[in-house]
């Protein structure tokens, strides 16, 4: 699994490529832990390049959503495709975590100066 991270208008955009599953869970957990510590309030996860997703990944997506909601932030997914999209829908994830067609749509009106991010608690 490859992970790329960027900042757009104060939101963190994480792009995952490859398999997001039990065997790659620790990489994801480390990254999200860092992002939460750094105090970002908007996380967009681009899943367009994900080729395989299992229930471990689903659990981590829900946990991420919890973490951001606790900090009054937002978490959303972008463009899961093919079977990955099917798995996400089978698990009814879109009822809990918004799914968008593009990063721009996911970020929406969010805009935050990085200097005024809420401190991590």
């Amino acid at each position: 699994m490859q992970i790329e991270r960027s900042i757009v208008r104060g939101a963190v955009v994480v792009r995952i490529e490859g398999r997001f599953e039990f065997g790659t869970r620790n990489e994801y957990k480390r990254l999200i832990g860092q992002i939460v510590q750094e105090g970002y309030r908007c996380l967009v996860l681009d899943l367009e390049g994900v080729t395989f997703l299992d229930s471990s990944a689903l659990g981590l997506l829900l946990l991420t959503d919890q973490n951001f909601k606790l900090k009054k932030g937002t978490f959303s997914l972008v463009k899961p495709t093919g079977y990955v999209r099917q798995v996400i829908e089978l698990a009814n994830l879109p009822r809990v975590i918004p799914v968008h067609d593009s990063v721009d749509e996911a970020i929406g009106n969010f805009s935050e100066d990085v200097a005024v991010r809420l401190p991590a608690s």
């Binding site: 869970r25 957990k29 395989f52 229930s55 659990g59 829900l62 946990l63 798995v87 089978l90 698990a91």
Partner: protein, 148 residues
């Protein structure tokens, strides 16, 4: 192969090293075997995902939590579909309602989608326990379509 042709039953079995690397390799070997045996491409994802969920469950619940030491993966392809069996020698049964995806801490435990995914993708799921845990998964393609 025409829909009316009969294929002999094809069987495959592998002992799985009870580690993360071991279950990953076993899953890949099973998928390669499916491809070599001509299983349709559209059937590979549900089979691979179901095998993944079952193997991870055997590793986490059967081996790591219940002290098991062996996992076995087997499948049989027939005219009707594919039957996959994942067995581990963990000490106690894994109740169907308790099977969840593996978690490292309590906070992750809210996932629990593993068995739900398997049930959504497979035609039949049976979990048996008599000294060891055996998960039987049946994949039957749509009527009139053979798996290969």
């Amino acid at each position: 192969m025409s829909a009316g042709a009969s294929i002999p039953s094809l069987r495959w079995m592998q002992s799985v090293p009870p580690t993360e690397t071991g279950i990953g390799q076993a899953r890949r070997h099973a998928v390669e075997a499916f491809r070599c045996l001509g299983v349709r491409e559209t059937h590979l994802f549900p089979l691979e995902l179901s095998i993944q969920e079952a193997l991870v469950n055997a590793l986490v619940h059967g081996v790591e939590e219940q002290g098991g030491s062996q996992i076995r993966l087997s499948f049989e392809i027939t005219n009707h579909g594919v039957e996959v069996i994942v067995e581990d020698d963990g000490l106690s049964a894994v109740e169907a309602e308790e099977v969840s995806h593996p978690v490292a801490d309590e906070a992750e435990a809210q996932g629990g989608h593993g068995l739900s995914l398997i049930r959504a993708l497979m035609s039949r799921v049976n979990i048996r326990s008599s000294g060891h845990v055996r998960m039987e998964l049946d994949f039957q393609p749509v009527a009139g379509q053979v798996p290969v």
